[in-house]
Amino acid sequence: MSDKYPPIVNGKSVYDLESGKYLKMWQGPQHPGVTGNMSLELIISGDQIVDCKTHVGYLHRGFEKLMERRRYINCFPIVCRICVPEPDTNEYLFAAAMEDLMGIEVPERAKWLRTLNMELSRLASFLMWIGGQSGAFGHGTVAQWALAHRDFVLDLFEEWTGARIYHMYTTPGGVRGGTPEGWDNHVERVLQGVEKFLTEVNHVMFNNAVFKSRAVGLGIIAPDMIDRFGVVGPVARGSGIVRDTRKDNPYLIYDQLDFNIETETAGDVYARAMVRWKEMHQAISLIRQIIKRMPRTGPLHITLPNVLHLKVPAGETYVRAESTRGEYGYYMVSDGTIYPRKITVRGPSYSHAMALLEHLAVGVNIADTHGLMLSLHTYPPEIER
């Protein structure tokens, strides 16, 4: 078995394709199993992957460069494009970094609405993931349902913020309007649908002999790898690590909400899926709590100085939030002008899809590659930005 793997020299696998022992295979960027627009360069021996390299950059737009030449208010429409399926974390973090540097506090009601926004988008993002995860193992039925439910959540967003995908709701200084009338009932209806769906998923996916046979024991992340690879979020929690930014470094109003950190211990694809399934329930409960307790009146945003020539005091800061993939952070450096000096986006997909996936993929059957990839829940646009 051991001679199956090519020798590693200087951190690189050395293989001789001419020997006929190995076959090089590209997956992506237009492969339907790949999470979005990235590609994998796989060296396989038989059915087994002996070396894996991720290639990213297909979606690179140079956000960090573009933001250096845009005013702060003009960064706000562009940050949400950094992560397409879950834009709201970006919006919040950009606003939070700015507010931190400017030393301003947003109104209470805006905090609640921001939290609501993030939790709803968490739900949408997880629904998208569950579609991908089941699809990667060939269970199209669940994928179809999941995407439909995600769309119902997007409908809520549309009604609330005026857009399906890029909500651009969390503006620096607050939020962009309250919830429309009667919207709460729609939310409840959708949540009930999602809950029913989650029960169905439990029956159909988690208690499925075939799914179990593929997911259990696949891509095990041992607890000692967590810090070495910088693993965060549900991926880490699947390995029994009790960490959640929402609890550890509470932001917005998470310290006022009632929830627990969901974990599993096995560290395999199944455990990670289970963690996310639980977190979807958690998100639903949080949304209900927020809608019940959220203040209905009060200011929605504080008035910033004229946004056309808004200057942020010089300094640097880092703010973080828990996205569906784990810790998401913005590192912002300001030099006191109307343009940000540097904004670095720390996306969890970055370390997950590159270093971790390359490590985990070795030894995995090629048919399981995408199941493994999906279980890390990475979104390529946030890797290359």
Binding site: K65, D227, R228, F229, N249, G315, Y318, G329, K342, H359
Partner: protein
Amino acid sequence: MKQLDTELSKQFTLSDYVEQRPELAFVTVEKQQLVPLLTYLRDTKKYTHLVTLTAVDWLEVNQFQLTYLLHNYETHTDIGIRVKLDRDNPVMETIHHLWEQARVYQRELHEMFGIDFPGSPGVEEPMILEGWQGPPVMRRDFDTAKYSLETYDHRKRDTREPEIYMKEKLYPED
């Protein structure tokens, strides 16, 4: 955090301590002392999580600033370690042996800023830009708008500033 800074100052040459928030501080360290400092923080001070590694281009003073952001999961505090590099010869020690994902960050920095990390696996390989032949793009002296306008086909804008337009139209002689 201040306490940590004091403690670290005994062993390392630190400067520019800034406490942004009670749980977040930034400090600058000498280039040679970075790896010992990071190792010390990781192994002794439980700053086990490398949050991010990024660079800021201070073109005016001809320096790159590398920021290593570490997180402590027990105290939930972050410390940002800044290192200043000479912009003309940006070379830095690699830390991929401390954290695996660092090699990806370093690879990106090499590509985007032209900062070299000798010994980091695959650091020379292009990561995001394929076949890019210009200067490293994230450097501030690279003007992306200019490049874009020169390289790609843009629709010619036909816009007027109200002030100038009104002058031309209403009082051209004044």
